[in-house]
Point group: C2
Chain length 205, copies 2
């Protein structure tokens, strides 16, 4: 079997499909079509069929896709048919919000570690996790099975944190600091910066 490389842009759409399918399931629907799913996520039916067909034949001609079945398949493909432990670095407003965010668990993630360099925050609790000294981060992560981290520190510290994370088994980083970071080969980074998103839209105002 020749494993063909799936384009990254397709992978990025799968979570959107899954999110819509889960909402459909919640409202009691059993099957859907590429057309309906496309309307939910704002993507053409042809593209949805093409994307999904990269991974197998999950639909039935004339009928469409079974929502539960397709959701299950997408979860397997995305490796979220399990729960990933996540570390948060930075216990300011953003870190706090992320640590308390209820939406993660049902979507495959559980925050288990939090770090900060502020003595006033170290030792405090967010929900039921305790903020640890950032100096102990590498050790603590290496003792855990955390492979996913979220950086929520000021821009000037983000690269330092990324460099420390490089000493651990973390392979996926969600970076809230408004700066592009450099990471070793094999580590993935995604960026969230609300100001950047807003600036994109003001062009059209």
């Amino acid at each position: 079997m020749t494993t063909k490389k799936i384009p990254d842009i397709i992978i990025g759409r799968l979570p959107l499909y899954l999110r819509a399918l889960e909402r459909m399931a919640n409202s009691g629907e059993i099957v859907t079509s590429s057309k309906e799913l496309g309307e939910w996520v704002g993507i053409s039916a042809a593209q949805i069929r093409k994307d999904i067909s990269q991974f197998g034949e999950f639909g039935k001609q004339g009928t469409g896709y079974n929502i539960k079945f397709l959701s299950e398949k997408l979860r397997e493909i995305l490796n979220i048919d399990r729960v990933w432990d996540v570390a948060i670095i930075g216990a300011g407003d953003i870190g706090h919000g992320l640590a308390r965010y209820q939406g993660f668990l049902e979507r495959g993630f559980r925050v288990t570690l939090a770090f900060d360099n502020d003595p006033a925050k170290i030792g405090s609790k967010i929900g039921d996790i305790q903020v640890q000294d950032i100096d102990k981060m590498v050790d603590a992560i290496n003792k855990s099975d955390v492979k996913v981290a979220m950086i929520a520190v000021p821009a000037e510290y983000a690269q330092d944190v990324a460099d420390e994370l490089a000493k651990t088994q973390v392979k996926a980083i969600l970076n809230y600091a408004p700066i592009c970071i450099t990471v070793p080969e094999g580590v993935r980074v995604q960026y969230i910066d609300p100001a950047t998103h807003l600036q994109w839209m003001t062009y059209y105002l």
Copy 2:
């Protein structure tokens, strides 16, 4: 003069260029090149030159780009050579974090209105803005000159909020609810959903 339509994907990169240029300026640099800027943002030099040249000739052969000058031009292009008032709908953890976020002001945005439907929150203060009853949102926004809004309510209310916003002059929405919303022609939406970003990366783990 024929105004050619600039692809949306190019507009989306300009805020990244601007962000990098501002950091360069802060560290005292005066000029940069497409090569250097490309390294900062992880984009090829050729693409950066092509993107920037859509809007004018802002560089000098042999020298590169003056950082201050190019920043100024990008701000003009993106319409952030002014400050935009922003409304936040939803005063939970995310809304709170956004309202308190210090990073907006220097990048062209100021949160001036906040709304919630929870009687326990209405009337409370976040920084120096007071949370108002969401029933008064349309009136309050219409009396203001807010054209940008951030939705930070649970997924099940997001479409309702979007429908209400459609009765105002809001033309740009940053949606934190994990759901795709439908808006009238001419209104832009951007999405931020950390779980979706994380799920994108777990594929590769």
